[in-house]
């Protein structure tokens, strides 16, 4: 517990959080608030009514501008939000711009209680944590101008923000459990009809296709959502279940955005997820180590004698839009052994290996999962690859394909033919591996002689 609060943390997750929140504030304010200022604000606007509504008064946000409700003031505030969001986005005068963003967004929200949505509120809460965070320590102009090497920061603000989003999920689940006022009268969520009713509500649903969703689909979906929200704090703070919890969250929120009219709510919620992602993964996604001009390059170890593997390599080259992959033939023993000294030749024949820039390496399904982070076309697949059970199914599927990859392959030289004959349909036990090694030794010598 002491380490949780005191051990320095990498600055990149904070930077990713800052960039995402600033981008959402910028785009949302520029597209849905500023152009419609005269519609949302002023004496004849839907927001003007709230100032006389006692319903709102107990939880009214503070404001320096209680009196001003006119569209002109709102325009100025919206422009300030956009300006501070832009500064926060690029990380110029980061702390000051985050304070400005939080203040102006709070003032704007205080003027617009009737046209706020859940995403707006979560965005405002996020900007408060940006004020607390040293979120300009990485991926910012401030860091570049100061030529800082400070890539680790004090952890407490990150921890507070992590706890905040855990609270949001947990207490949301409690509210859902409460049903219609008390636990004694469970509502739609425990009853299992919540998802069906939501998707059948013409005011919320985007599409008419799901209004007749049967209970046998709606109930598991409602309960899964409820259970996941309730357990989110435990699942996401425990390292072993963290990725699975985040993967479920990503799929859930993308699903919500696709089927319901929730404006930027899904994106704002997902921006908080960066706070749980290790810096090394973020740097892999970004492509560069902070402070270094070099690309972070993955090394793919493939079987250069296997036609299927060579075809897979060609496909990877096509997908590698960002130029993040290099390849090594496992039959180039000196090179492969030097790069992955702890992995045997036999293991490399059994499955593909991938080595990350930080030195960690993965084989088989996990190698494919690691590659997805650097292949843009595979990014939508990533949450599915981290779902509970994905590794179990993926590993077995990969083994099946690897074991049978020689059955349908065609060769264009003799060594490949022998390679295939040797391996086709067999388990890659030690005897077979030994024969393969001997074959390749002979082939290499023959090639050297000729």
């Amino acid at each position: 517990m002491t380490r949780f609060w005191t051990e320095p943390v990498a600055a990149q997750p904070l930077a990713a959080f800052r960039i995402s929140i600033a981008l959402i504030a910028l785009v949302d304010t520029a597209t849905s608030v500023l152009p419609y200022a005269s519609r949302w604000f002023g004496a004849q606007s839907p927001n003007a009514a709230a100032f006389g509504a006692t319903y709102y008064l107990p939880n009214w946000p503070w404001s320096l501008l209680q009196i001003a409700t006119d569209a002109g003031t709102a325009r100025v505030l919206a422009a300030c939000v956009i300006g501070f969001a832009l500064l926060s986005l690029i990380g110029l005068l980061t702390r000051l711009s985050c304070v400005g963003l939080w203040t102006t967004l709070s003032l704007l929200h205080a003027m617009a209680p009737n046209t706020l949505n859940a995403g707006d509120l979560l965005l405002r809460v996020a900007t408060f944590y940006l004020v607390l965070m040293p979120c300009g320590a990485a991926w910012s102009l401030d860091a570049r101008l100061a030529r800082r090497g400070t890539l680790v920061v004090a952890p407490w603000s990150l921890r507070l923000a992590q706890i905040q989003i855990c609270f949001v999920y947990f207490f949301t689940a409690i509210e859902k459990l409460k049903g219609f006022g008390s636990l004694a009268t469970p509502g739609d969520w425990l009853g299992g009809s919540a998802v069906r009713l939501t998707l059948a509500n013409a005011m919320i649903a985007r599409w008419p296709w799901f209004h007749n969703m049967p209970l046998w689909i709606s109930a598991p979906a409602s309960w899964l959502t409820l259970g996941w929200e309730l357990l989110f704090p435990v699942l996401v703070l425990w390292r072993r279940t963290r990725y699975a919890a985040l993967a479920i969250g990503v799929i859930l929120h993308v699903g919500i955005f696709a089927t319901m009219e929730v404006t930027h709510f899904s994106f704002t919620t997902l921006a908080w997820y960066w706070l749980f992602v290790p810096a090394v993964v973020l740097m892999d996604l970004a492509g560069k180590q902070t402070g270094s001009p070099d690309k972070r390059v993955y090394t793919v170890f493939y079987d250069g004698m296997c036609p299927v593997c060579k075809k897979a390599k060609r496909n990877l080259e096509r997908l590698d839009w960002l130029g993040r992959l290099t390849y090594r033939d496992i039959h180039d023993r000196a090179s492969a052994d030097a790069a992955l000294p702890t992995v045997s030749y036999a293991d490399m024949l059994r499955q593909m290996y991938v080595k990350r820039p930080d030195g960690s390496y993965f084989g088989g399904f996990e190698a494919f999962r690691a590659l997805a982070a650097v292949l843009p076309l595979c990014w939508p697949l990533m949450p599915f690859l981290w779902l509970p059970g994905a590794k179990f199914l993926g590993t077995r599927g990969y083994k099946f394909i690897a074991r049978n990859r020689f059955k349908f392959a065609k060769c264009d030289d003799e060594a490949c033919n022998l390679h295939l004959k040797l391996l086709a349909g067999k388990e890659l036990d030690d005897t077979v591996i030994k024969q393969v090694i001997e074959l390749h030794e002979r082939y290499r010598k023959a090639k050297a002689t000729s």
Partner: protein
């Protein structure tokens, strides 16, 4: 990785103590403010007030039931009803749902319409969701929502007057109604099932039509 930059000596101790106090206070306020929102009874003010004040000051005060709606099995859509001095009437649906109601709720008893005429096209709200909360609250029948209903009615009336210059004098009364949108079994389209009046505060200002207390024909009370 490089070590984080830290202050030294006494300043470092003071800094750490201040952070520790802030973290404890923040977590305490967060915990109390969230727990009291889900308690069945009001907690002691001694506990409640400082937490609420802190959350209020930091603009973090938010009840998460907004994220946990108990969804009604009925969709309610707000409608402005205009009764003119010549006895004619007009309904003005919300701008967020143009295909839903126009031309089908002209103060008729909509049960007299054949089902195919009551069917309404689905709404595709692709971008603009900013009025949804306001309109969903306005459609709730409780007295505490009357101010919102009045404001919505006034806002819609202002828009109508802007679109129909010089016709303000022809309106005798403006009322708020909610249209119930339901589903017919397996049918692909929802239909309007009823139109219900909800009370608003009738204003006596020069721009507000005079109050009208008579039962409106064809509208279920």
């Amino acid at each position: 990785m490089a070590e984080p930059r830290t202050a030294h000596g006494a300043w470092r101790t003071i800094q750490r103590a201040a952070v520790a106090v802030f973290v404890c206070a923040h977590l305490g306020a967060l915990l109390v403010a969230n727990i009291i929102q889900v308690l069945p009874q009001e907690p002691p003010a001694l506990l409640d007030r400082p937490a609420r004040a802190y959350m209020h000051a930091t603009a973090l005060d938010q009840r998460w039931n907004m994220f946990a709606p108990q969804v009604s099995d009925t969709t309610w859509a707000p409608v402005l009803l205009l009764i003119f001095t010549d006895g004619k009437s007009q309904t003005v649906p919300s701008s967020t749902m143009p295909p839903l109601l126009s031309g089908r709720t002209q103060l008729l008893d909509i049960h007299k319409l054949p089902p195919e005429q009551r069917a309404c096209g689905w709404n595709f709200h692709l971008m603009d969701g900013r009025l949804r909360k306001f309109e969903s609250y306005a459609c709730k029948p409780g007295a505490q929502y009357m101010a919102l209903r009045t404001a919505w009615t006034r806002w819609m009336l202002d828009q109508w007057l802007a679109d129909h210059p010089g016709q303000g004098g022809s309106i005798r009364v403006a009322q708020f109604a909610r249209a119930e949108v339901v589903y017919d079994g397996d049918g692909p389209l929802p239909r309007i099932d009823s139109l219900q009046m909800l009370a608003i505060e009738q204003r006596m200002d020069p721009h507000w039509p005079l109050p009208h207390t008579q039962q409106l024909p064809g509208v279920m009370p």
